[in-house]
């Protein structure tokens, strides 16, 4: 049995990273030039890692399935990025960011990793500003901050509702600079379909050129998976259509343990489902909870329009239940609270599966503020409305526009209807302190790994983690491995292992093409999504999970006998690409249910109905479940559990309270 060694450095928490950086092995510049690194994925983690490693002198190859590295789904992140800068003088510190993140994660994240994340958070903002990322600024010319859920300080940096876009374009510009200099070779419209291991170490990948269908073998002294999360296992999620688990799942089948797969984040503020045609869900940024107030009618089954319901007949249930944090409770709590109200019959809209996010009060507050600033003593209601709407537009304009385009309703005039949707996955490949998986030489960065967010991620922390891993962690930690690889020459991709890996990939693609069944890929994906959402979504039970595992196994069989893939294997074939991804989701979904069933407690995004407090909060069991569940792939439908015990030496573990 493999013993999980997280390789956490000795010493006091606050000194670990500093000491580590000063003692980790280095690779001299001449040797870096002959070491090759493969980076799969070009989002925040991948682009920042690839650019930083190329700047150091390594030879880097980057792969992405989109037509340009700038399309990676990090681009869609809206609200912001956290950093412990304390620019607002409101009591922030590295320790507080660390503490909030551990607590927000419901005490299921690894202390040392999270502290390191908080330590490097400030440098990320510095780096991005230096690249020309246009963060929001105050009139004095300095950076602006806003609040996010689960914190009581303002530490979130932002660029309107397009923070992810601006950060990714910053990382992309650094990446393209290295491409232009010849230090990075970029492979767009390429999908990684397997990891190649030789003598137990990751030595390369097999990739498919989506345009020609050709399979390619690529060698690397190390392979970095920066391939994002697996929320699309639910079919409907806020992820991009192409977001998938395939790279991580192939790594898993080659020996990388998959940690905490059942920890998924259901985001409370998304645009509700409008019909069966729906292909994806759209997030309305958490930053909207800064100013918006969430409510439902106090009366059950109230059919009046929102604007016709008087103030005293509205239930601002988050403010009622959680007065200390109000509308800014963490996501898991806000989501469950919305579900609770809708299930109890207080939901709104035609489906009754929605709650209101209301900007009326914020518009008036901002309007009055503007009137004061402009020295207007008796502004009319119209003037207040107009000025207030202008302020809201500057802060959230793109989000309001998007809401209007999707729903056909104007959120400046009527409250938005929102409902929780799958957004992020805290689980992922198990990594040690160096971000290395259980396969030597194979790393996982960003959302693809499991390490920093425990059972629930706080808002504005995903961008922080992706960039921390890429800019400031991997450039150091990869030295610990590569320093011992300087004598390994570049390997020929004609070796037996490469040839065998390519053949296995080809066989699988041909098998898929030859099923020639009756149903399109989407049919299976939708059915899997429904099982996952109903039984492994916001509320889970042992009974439901057990039944789901059987259902998913049956669905796997049906998929492999009845899927219909049109087109050719050696041409652009989006259906073939989708089929490969859905086949992997079908296996992952099973593991997620197995993991959720194993964890007889509720924590963060994992809510087992059997384990809750009297007032419906998650009931953790720290005696039995304060561990990371790392699953080893044995064979089809068979996974072995390894446990990494979580030790809290710097934080007193307690029941989370946001009251």
């Amino acid at each position: 049995m493999t013993k999980l060694d997280a390789k956490i450095p000795e010493g006091a928490l606050a000194d670990k990273w500093t000491k580590y950086r000063s003692s980790v092995s280095l690779v001299n510049p001449a040797n870096k030039r002959s070491l090759e690194i493969i980076v799969v994925g070009s989002g925040l983690a991948g682009a920042s890692a690839a650019a930083s490693l190329a700047e150091l002198g390594y030879k880097v190859k980057v792969f992405c399935f989109q037509d340009s590295p700038r399309r990676a789904h990090s681009i869609a992140a809206q609200g912001g990025i956290n950093a412990a800068k304390n620019y607002q003088n409101d009591g922030d510190s590295v320790f507080r960011l660390f503490y909030d993140t551990i607590k927000g994660g419901d005490y299921r994240a690894r202390e040392a990793n999270v502290h390191r994340l908080a330590e490097v958070s400030g440098s990320i903002i510095d780096q991005c500003v230096a690249q020309g990322v246009p963060f929001a600024r105050e009139y004095g010319g300095l950076l602006s901050n806003r609040s996010f859920g689960g914190t009581q300080v303002q530490r979130t940096f932002y660029a309107a509702g397009q923070t992810g876009q601006q950060l990714l374009l910053g990382a992309y510009s650094s990446l393209q600079r290295q491409v232009g200099m010849g230090n990075v070779k970029m492979y767009t419209r390429h999908e990684m379909l397997d990891v190649v291991t030789i003598d137990g170490k990751a030595r390369g990948i097999i990739a498919r050129d989506s345009v020609t269908g050709a399979l390619e073998r690529h060698f690397g002294h190390a392979v970095l998976l920066c391939t994002g999360g697996y929320g699309n296992v639910f079919y409907l999620s806020t992820n991009a259509m192409g977001s998938n688990v395939t790279a991580a799942w192939k790594a898993h089948k080659k020996g990388a343990f998959f940690a905490n797969p059942c920890y998924t984040q259901i985001h409370p503020t998304c645009i509700p489902v409008s019909g069966d045609h729906q292909s994806k869900l759209t997030l309305m940024s958490e930053s909207l909870r800064n100013d918006g107030r969430i409510w439902v009618p106090k009366k059950e089954n109230d059919t009046r329009k929102a604007n016709e319901i008087p103030e005293d007949e509205r239930d601002y249930y988050l403010e009622r239940r959680y007065p200390a944090f109000g509308n800014l409770v963490p996501r898991d709590i806000a989501s469950r609270a919305a579900k609770e109200r809708c299930d109890a019959g207080f939901g709104v809209g035609s489906s009754k599966m929605a709650v209101y996010l209301d900007y009326a009060a914020a518009i008036i507050r901002y309007g009055k503020g503007e009137a004061n600033k402009n020295n207007m003593h008796n502004p009319s209601d119209e003037e207040i409305q107009a000025m207030g709407k202008a302020v809201v537009k500057e802060k959230y304009g793109n989000l309001f526009d998007m809401y209007k385009q999707i729903t056909g309703e104007d959120p400046y005039e009527v409250p938005m209807r929102i409902y929780p949707a799958v957004h992020y996955t805290m689980g992922g490949l198990w990594v040690d302190y160096n971000l290395m998986t259980t396969v030597p030489g194979l790393y996982a960065l960003g959302e693809a790994n499991f390490s920093d967010h425990g059972a629930n991620r706080l808002g504005a922390s995903a961008l922080m983690q992706g960039l921390a891993d890429g800019y400031f962690v991997i450039p150091y930690t990869i030295g610990a491995y590569l320093a011992a690889e300087i004598r390994t020459p570049s390997m020929s991709t004609d070796s037996e292992d490469f040839v065998a890996a390519e053949k296995a990939v080809r066989d699988r693609l041909e098998t898929l093409m030859n099923i020639k069944g009756n149903k399109p890929v989407d049919y299976f994906h939708k059915r899997l999504g429904k099982i996952m959402w109903d039984e492994c979504g916001m509320a889970r039970s042992a009974e439901g999970l057990k039944a789901s595992i059987k259902e998913i196994q049956a669905l796997q069989k049906e998929f492999w006998s009845d899927v219909k893939i049109p087109g050719e294997i050696d041409n652009l074939n989006p259906e073939l690409e989708k089929a490969g991804r859905v086949a992997d989701f079908l296996e992952l979904g099973e593991l997620m249910c197995i993991d959720a069933l194993d964890r007889d407690e509720s924590c963060g995004g994992h809510f087992r109905t059997e384990f809750q407090t009297e007032d419906g909060e998650a009931l953790r069991d720290d005696e039995k479940y304060a561990y990371v569940a790392a699953w080893e792939y044995e064979k089809q439908s068979s996974f072995k559990l390894h446990k990494e015990e979580l030790k809290y030496e710097n934080i007193k573990i307690a029941q989370r309270s946001y009251k």
Binding site: I75, F135, S173
Partner: protein, 252 residues
């Protein structure tokens, strides 16, 4: 049947770059006004698959208007009839029952067709690689607040940086010019002190790459601005021209 729109679609089909393409006509029915344009194409594609035909290939990913991957020239306009909207955010309530909708790929020699509605936009990546960056290595940065930047400059830089690189500007332009795309990046960085150091070199290098890729010249028609889903302003082209001419006058 979720809705009541019945539509005729004339869609460009082309197997790959080396063979000629042509329009094919398809009927779709029962389309809901709440569907996005791409979800309507999904409905068509799933039917084509069930009937044993090759579905229509098109680029798309985030489906929330920010990744810039979707394209489609709809009824003679990039991203369709609405202003400030990408194809993925275009909803079927913008169309009438019984309408005929023509769908083509971006047409520009610098964007060769890969298949059906999918084109190759890697020329944009090469323009950025030529100079669309600040030359700063990771770890060199000073404290983010050590350099105050007037809010107006930051806001203008942000407005230029909002470009999603979709290529609608090129598709809309009768000359297939990439001036709006290129100028947006040049402007963003020229407006900020971080980008000023290399401003002259950047303008020269990016314009040279743009020309090399085979994009056309600008004749100030303004179709690019009108069709840009992110409202990138023509002012950026004026700013780029200033940067470019002052760079070439002073270049050594």
């Amino acid at each position: 049947m979720e809705g009541n729109l019945n539509l005729t679609l004339k869609i460009w089909r082309q197997k790959n770059a080396s063979v000629a393409g042509k329009f094919e006509t398809y009927q779709v029915s029962g389309i809901s006004t709440d569907m996005s344009f791409l979800e309507m194409i999904d409905v068509l594609n799933n039917r084509l698959i069930e009937e044993g035909d090759d579905p229509v290939a098109f680029d798309h990913d985030c489906r929330e208007g920010i990744c810039g991957m979707c394209s489609m020239y709809i009824n003679g306009r990039p991203h369709g009839p609405n202003r400030g909207v990408t194809t993925c955010q275009l909803h079927m309530r913008s169309f009438q029952d019984g309408e005929t909708i023509t769908v083509e790929p971006w047409r520009a020699s610098a964007f060769p067709v890969i298949k059906d509605l999918v084109v190759n936009r890697s020329a944009f990546d090469r323009i950025i690689a030529a100079g669309g960056f600040v030359s700063i290595n990771t770890g060199n940065a000073q404290d983010a607040n050590s350099l105050p930047i007037p809010k107006e400059d930051a806001d203008d830089a942000f407005a230029a940086a909002a470009c999603i690189g979709c290529g609608a500007c090129v598709a809309a332009c009768k000359n297939a010019s990439a001036m709006l795309f290129t100028s947006a990046k040049i402007s963003q960085l020229a407006l900020l002190p971080q980008g000023k150091v290399e401003a002259a070199k950047r303008a020269e290098a990016m314009v040279a790459q743009m020309d090399e890729e085979g994009f056309g010249a600008c004749s100030n028609t303004g179709a690019c601005e009108a069709e840009c889903p992110k409202g990138i302003s023509l002012e950026n082209i004026a700013r780029m021209n200033r940067e470019y001419f002052s760079a070439t006058f002073s270049s050594k």
